[in-house]
């Protein structure tokens, strides 16, 4: 099925992502192979902000090579309600700035999905819409 038929518009992507709280994070390991993690996130001004522990391998990966992919997905089942967004970009660490620090504080208040005691966390952001793939299976016309 051609991807454009089931992809979402920018407004649909924003609406979907705003309703979710957790993402799957893809980073690059030392040897260039993919590595995976999970993180809390929020959307602010068309940027995805996510928080990961500084002690994690993902944090070290991003510091070495900041190319990442954030996968936000709902489902299955049911099959025809599956929705997802894969946003690619170069992660920038939030270090200063009033609004950015407020976002970091909001994320720090959320429980890390992987460890209850995740320790010191770093906040990164990537653009949501610059290099994005999306799908909404409710748009599938020909159903089996």
């Amino acid at each position: 099925m051609p991807r454009e038929i089931i992809s979402m518009s920018p407004d649909e992507i924003r609406a979907f992502v705003k309703g979710e709280k957790r993402l799957i994070l893809a980073t690059l390991a030392e040897d260039g192979a993919p590595w995976s993690d999970a993180a809390v996130f929020l959307l602010e001004g068309d940027r995805v902000f996510f928080r990961i522990p500084r002690s994690s391998r993902s944090y070290r990966n991003i510091r070495r090579d900041n190319r990442v992919c954030c996968i936000i997905e709902r489902g299955p089942p049911p099959y025809y309600e599956i929705m997802g967004v894969m946003a690619h970009g170069q992660a920038q660490e939030v270090r200063d700035g009033g609004q950015a620090l407020q976002i970091a504080a909001r994320l720090a208040a959320q429980r890390d999905p992987v460890a209850s005691d995740a320790g010191d966390g770093a906040v990164f952001s990537i653009p949501l819409l610059e290099d994005v793939v999306s799908f909404d299976f409710s748009k599938i016309q020909r159903r089996h």
Partner: protein
């Protein structure tokens, strides 16, 4: 061809893999950057089996660079998130070598070669919290 069960998979991880099929398959794009796809593979004998269109981007990525990382997770609605990291190498295998269920609903497309099966042989399999800092 490499045989499954290249690494020891503990009983609790085995049980998780047998009862959860929500999987994020991470591959490398042409420029070496990471990307990912939600999938629903089969788990059998220490390996994950993915059924995909031959022309799909994920298939092209795995033919170009077979290194993958999979995250097998609890359901989207689960209050307590848990995940198993399953890192390894993907290989294209003959469709009739895949476990029953991998080709469900698409047997004809597997026979014509429109769809194909990739098997992922792991070198790391563990609950995410155990390997996160590793």
């Amino acid at each position: 061809m490499q045989q499954p069960q290249a690494v020891k998979i503990t009983e609790d991880v085995q049980e998780f893999l047998q009862t959860h099929s929500r999987v994020f398959l991470l591959t490398l794009r042409k420029d070496g950057s990471p990307t990912g796809y939600p999938m629903k593979p089969s788990y059998s004998d220490g390996a994950l089996y993915f059924n995909t269109y031959r022309k799909a981007a994920k298939a092209r990525n795995m033919f170009r660079d077979s290194r993958v990382c999979c995250l097998v997770t609890t359901h989207h609605t689960a209050t307590d998130f848990r995940a198993v990291l399953f890192r390894g190498t993907a290989e294209h295998i003959d469709w009739n070598l895949s476990p029953q269920g991998s080709g469900e609903g698409s047997q004809a497309r597997l026979q014509t070669g429109l769809r194909i099966i990739f098997r992922v042989i792991p070198d790391v399999v563990a609950f995410l919290e155990k390997v996160r800092g590793g």
